[in-house]
Every structure is written in structure tokens, then in C-alpha cells.
Symmetry: D2
């Protein structure tokens, strides 16, 4: 299991801008996540804030993602996030078009291209099955389906809106047989994870369910049970 | 001269998203800048990309600025730049509203407030004397006047449009007697720096003039001559 | 009282995108407003949607405002709002930077300039006293102070947050002695109007308080009492 | 030939914010376009600025399009363009995501839905064949492929980049067999129109080629020759 191992099923943990996962706490949380993942033989990645990517990447071996890149090339772009900069800091991939950082359609295609050229894997997010298929056309490595109304709700997409996941899987597959499909929003238990995998997802995207948990390790151990149950 | 020493006159070097100042090259350039600044007793800061702030801050003692922060508080803000995150990475301050990353007026006021609460010094940019006075009302630590049409042009604002600098100084002073005033755009020589200080600026903001130079050290040494000439 | 009469005190009614004030209903409401204004000798203007400006302007003599213009000049700007187009349709002025359509600082200055060149009066909105002073520096015809949290609340800024109005008046006056100052947010009664004028406002900006009222005429008649009480 | 006749092939003329097509000149140009279209039995529509839709719609019988709508529903949305407002003014349809007014992916899907509910036909623009297929998934009435680098260039997409048109037709058809496909950018002659139709487009989108022409009627007559040549 190394920095570019995204083999199935994949668990990506988005740190957002939570103070619980900022600075040293981003490094500490990443270490805990790596330990649970190693003990349970689960593929996992973390997406800390830009300023924390370099520190996290030196402290753990699991893949480190940016939460966003800008659709730019090197040059006079003060205050923007360059794919090459994420890569130089030790990043392995990036989220694109998260519902909290949505992009213009034209910039999604550009960002996927820039990321690939810089050697970053891409996870493009979409909130509906139609948009999941649309972003799959830009040929990212992974598509993540996340209905925005369930994000942070504690009500798992895989339980509350299973048809969104299964429709997305079907519609994405119809236009792109290769892309990996994640799902997310409201996932807090191993059963939620298991339900997602049963619906055809090849992994899950989670944030507050882990980051804001009293004991993130316990949540992660429970998630791993969901992965194992599916693999039996 | 330490991490929070912005005493006059101040030289702030914006690395933008130039490859010449990305990753290890951001650290190397910062070290060179620090050496010249120490040898010449000039106050200097650097503004690398977000992903490079932590590494640069561990390698140099001079102030490290972000190039931008988002007008957010900790929470569910995937892909945004939190003031507290910049601070935790070792940042001392931040640019706000650079002409390549302009903000809504309402977000300038919010960003200045968030930065202050997080312990970051603020340099708010403006392209005209009217807007320089407008942003000075939000009470940042510094205002930087930069006519966008001269940025990266090699034609120094202090030589080409001296009246923009002097008008800005006058108009900013009329509404805020305390804020430090920088100027920038097109500055490439010590004479440009000297001209800026003569017009009432208390420092300069520079980017390509240093970062894209064949020998940044030589440009910096020349800048220092401008500072010394003014101090005589 | 004609199309360019904004003499004091001024009442500007923003139709937003309410169905109650769309299409023919925008024309009908404008006629009612004009009738009450004439009967009570109060200066009033209306701000319908872009598509309704021309029809409203042919049916009433009171000033008609756009709700926004884009910071553009004539040319290849598909889907944008050109100041000259508003003027050609019979518009007399425009709102700029309303809290539901906030602009980048740099675009506020441009929009005020473009509006003036096209012959449109300008009402630039701001949500705090600091920002009210900041926009006053761009020299619009009027500044409208509207705390966003009170908009549509039914709790009048002039009663709930009188210090915001009086501080804004003081701070705006300090940088621009000529600009007219309106206030708005939550105003629904003549007493709210009277309180606003007592605090130093020269007019009020109102939307749902009139547009969503069961009988807009009755609200307007009550507003006129507030104006008269102040003028006694 | 009436207000909702978009039968093949279709010619849509975008007035952008050209002064040559603002206010009375928008009405005059629309009349000329209608006359040529009637004489030559060609289906044509015009897309004037928002403020001109109502006047144009009362003066001509051909379909009138907005150049953009915002992804909003009726309510407190000052300065935005409501689909219902375009419809109430006499509009029959709207452009969405023109390269000069690009939208977030999520807002394209919303805008197509809002337009349909308000009774507006939709023409969603895209600059590449990948994005043409992506927007076709949102099920608009028409997709318009326009490589941004050729817009206003006088070099016709159908001559300079025929593979973009044919690839777009193929990729759009693979995901949506029903949507009408237009192409545009740089079209100035009947031969350009003919080439577009030969490549599989069912119509063309044009702007400066007509609006900025010395004699728009002559250009239109030439376009009609292209349509006839194809229909032989």
C-alpha cells in the first residue's frame, strides 16, 4: 500500500477547513487514519487543506489529495492553486468540483487535464446522476456522487437515496466504463459503507463523519467492517 | 529582524504561481532573499503558494505571506483557504484582493477581519487611488497600490505613473493615518524602488521583477541600493 | 415630478424577481405606486427586472431603475447587462452591489463610471458603515445602507439597528459630502420611514414590504405619512 | 412560421451587447432579419439584450431568445434574470452557458430545468466536443458547439475545425438522440453555413457576422443560399 495505491475499494477522507484537521491536527489525524488502514488492509487517502499537504505527505505514506485545484497553468496567477504545486508538495491527487467549491463546466475539463499533466489523480464530484455522467465524460480517474442536501447530515446517501447511487453507477458506466465511482454524503457507519458498495460504488468519500467524530479511529474501524463485509 | 518585523521600508516578494518559485525552488529562492536582506539590513517578506508556506516558513526567518485567504470561518468549506490554516503553517500575513485574485467588496472587509483574528498581517491591494482609499477604510495593516496594466510590464508604476502613487498616498492618508502604504507593478530596479519611496510609499510589492530574473540576488541587491539611497 | 426627479426624500422600490412584480404585474404595480406618489407629493422610483424596464418606462413617468448593470462596455458580452441598454429602454438609474448581487470592488468603481457615461443615476448598496463609506468614495449619486441580515425580515434597520444608519451617515459624510444616503432592510411602516429620516437618511430602499404586501397602496400611503411627519 | 417554430435548419442570431443591436436598433435589425427569413423560407430566431426582449417580441413574429438566464426561482434575487420574466416579456427561449457567460456545471442543469418549467426553449453552448456531450445529458432542446477561440474571428468553425463539429455531432448523438445540434463561431458566409449543415449540424449560431456587417440583409441572403444548397 503506497502513495499511489487507489485500488478498490477506496476510502477518501476530506478534511475540509475543520479546525479539528488543521495544522498539526491534520498530521495527527492522518497518522491515525494510516494506522487503522494498515491494520485493516483498507485503501485510504486524505484530503487536507492546501497549507497542510506538504507536512502530511512527509508524515504518512497513504495518498494525499488537494481539495481543489484552479484551472490554470504556471504563471501570473496570484492566490490560485496550481496542480504542479500540489504535486511538488507531495500530493497524489485532487478533488475537483466539490459541492462546496463548484466549478464552471469549462473549468472542470481544464482542471482534469491540468491535473493529469501534473501527475495528479482526479476525483470529480457531482450532485446528481446526470451530472455524474457529465463529469465522467471528462475522463477523470474517479467520479464521486454526493447529493449536496445530504452532506454533513448524518443521513447516508447509500441508505436515504440508494437510487441516486445506483442511477449514477448506471449512467456513468454508460458513458465511461473505466472511471472509478465513489459515493458520499452523510456516511457515518460501516453499514453505510457496506450499502454504498452493494449499490455499485467502488469506494466512499467522507468528511465530518470521521473528522468531527469523538474518536475518528473507532469510526474508521467500523468503516473497515463495512469493507470486509462486502468483500466476504 | 524576525518573522513579524515589517518595519519600514518593507519589500514584499510575490511568488505567484511561477514554476521558478514552486516547491523546492520556493524554498531556495526564499533563502537567497533572506541572505540578501540580512546582508543589506532590509526588511523583506515572501508570498509563496499555499502548498509551499509551511516548508518556506521552516527554512527562513523572514515573514511568509499567503497570496490570498477566503472570507470563511472554520467548517465545511472544501477547497477554500482558511486564515487559521495559513497561520498554523507558519504564515505571518496575507495578500488580499490582488488584481489577479480580486474579491467582492464585502469579502475584503470579512477577510481583513478573519486575518486579524487569526493573527495574520494584511496587505490589501487596489488598482486605483479611489480603491486604495476604499480598502484603507477596512483597516488592514498595509495597502498596496498596483495599477493592473503595469503589473509584469517592466515599466515601473513609480516612474510611469508617479501621480497614481502620490494620489493614493494622499487619499489613503485622508481616511486612515496609520495604514502602511506599499506600491507595486513593473518595478525592476533600485531606481524604481527609490522613486516609489520618494513618492511616499513605505515599501514595494514585486513579483516577476525578482522571481523571473536571471539572477534574483542581483536584482535584490540593486533594490537595496534604492532603499539605502532613500535613507541617506 | 418627472423621470429624473430624485429630490429628497426619495423612496426606491426594488421589485427583485418576485412574481408579484413580473411582466404585466410590474406595470400594474408601477402605476399604483405612481398614483400614490402623485397624490402624496412624494418622490418615488421603481426597480423592475431587466425585461420589464421598457414596458414600465412607457407606462409611468416616475424614474425606473435597473437592479444591476455589468461592468462592461459595448461589444461581445453575451448575457450581460449594458448600461446603454438600460438607458435605451427608458431607465433613469441603476442599483449597484445589492447584497443579493454583490460585486467585486474593482467592478463597483467601473460600474459607477459606466452608468454615469450612459446617463444613469447610481445607487450603490453596502451592508456596513465601513463599506458604505468605501462605496461613497466611488462618487455614486446615492449610497444605500442595508444590513443583509435584516433584508426581508420585517424588522426595520431604522428601529433595530439605528446606530448602523447614523454611523453610516457620519462615515459617508466624512468622505463624500454630496452623495445622497438611503437606508433599507426590513422597512414596512411609515414609522420605520420616519425613523430612517430622523437618523439622517435622505430616503429609503424597500422591496418585500411593498411588493409582497396584501395591498401595496396601503403600505405606500403609510410610508407617505412617515415622510410628511418628518417634513413637519 | 411562428414564434415557436424552430424547425430545421435553424439560424439563431445573437445580438450580444453590440450598440448596433441595442434599443431601437435591436428592433430594426430584428425586422430586417424577419423579412429576409420570410422571403427565403428560413427558420430564424434573434437573441437581443434582456431590456430589448419585450420591444422586439412585440414587433416581430420570429422566436426571441434571451442570451442567459440565472439558475433561480422567483423570490429575493435582485439583479438576476428569471426564466418567467423572459417568458412574460415574450421570449420563446434562452441561450445558456455561452462562452462569454459560462456557468457552473450544477447551474447548467438547474437553468435547463427552470427554462423548461417556464416554457422557454433552451440552447446550451459548449466549446469542445466533450462538453457538448456533457451538456446534452441535461436534455436541452438544442446544443450549440462553439470553439471560443474562433468566436468573432471571421474564420468559420465549419471550415477551420470541421472535426470539432463532426466529433461533437457524433458524441452528442451517442448520449442524446433527440437534441438539436447547432454550431457557431466565425460564420460569415453561405458557404460556411452549407459546410456546417454538411457536417451534421441542424443549424447555426451567429453574432458579429450579421450584427456588425455593413449590410446585415446581404449576409443573411447569402446564409439562405447556404441553407438552400444543402436542401437541394
Amino acid at each position: 500500500m503506497g502513495r499511489n495505491d487507489f485500488s478498490e475499494p477506496f476510502l477518501l477522507i476530506n478534511f475540509k477547513t475543520y479546525l479539528e484537521a488543521t495544522g498539526k491536527r491534520a498530521v495527527d489525524l492522518s497518522r491515525k487514519i494510516e494506522q487503522v488502514a494498515q491494520s485493516n488492509d483498507v485503501r485510504v487517502g486524505v484530503a487536507p487543506q492546501f497549507c497542510d499537504i506538504a507536512q502530511v505527505a512527509t508524515q504518512v505514506q497513504i495518498p494525499v489529495f488537494a481539495q481543489h485545484i484552479d484551472p490554470i497553468v504556471p504563471g501570473a496567477n496570484t492566490g490560485h492553486v496550481l496542480a504542479e504545486s500540489v504535486r511538488a508538495a507531495g500530493g497524489s491527487g485532487t478533488l475537483i468540483n466539490h459541492s462546496e467549491r463548484t466549478l464552471k463546466l469549462v473549468d472542470i475539463e481544464k482542471s482534469v487535464g491540468h491535473a493529469r499533466e501534473a501527475g495528479l489523480s482526479t476525483v470529480v464530484c457531482a450532485g446528481t446522476s446526470t451530472l455524474a455522467a457529465a463529469v465522467a465524460l471528462t475522463r477523470p480517474d474517479m467520479v464521486a456522487i454526493e447529493p449536496p442536501e445530504l452532506i454533513g447530515s448524518g443521513r447516508a446517501v447509500s441508505k436515504e437515496r440508494p437510487e441516486v447511487v445506483s442511477d449514477s453507477v448506471r449512467r456513468v458506466r454508460a458513458v465511461n466504463p473505466d472511471v472509478r465511482i465513489l459515493c458520499g454524503a452523510g456516511i457515518t457507519t460501516g453499514e453505510d459503507v457496506y450499502a454504498a458498495l452493494k449499490l455499485g460504488a467502488q469506494g466512499v468519500l467522507v468528511a465530518s463523519g470521521v473528522v468531527k467524530a469523538q474518536k475518528p479511529e473507532d469510526v474508521l474501524v467500523d468503516f473497515c467492517k463495512g469493507f470486509r463485509k462486502y468483500n466476504l
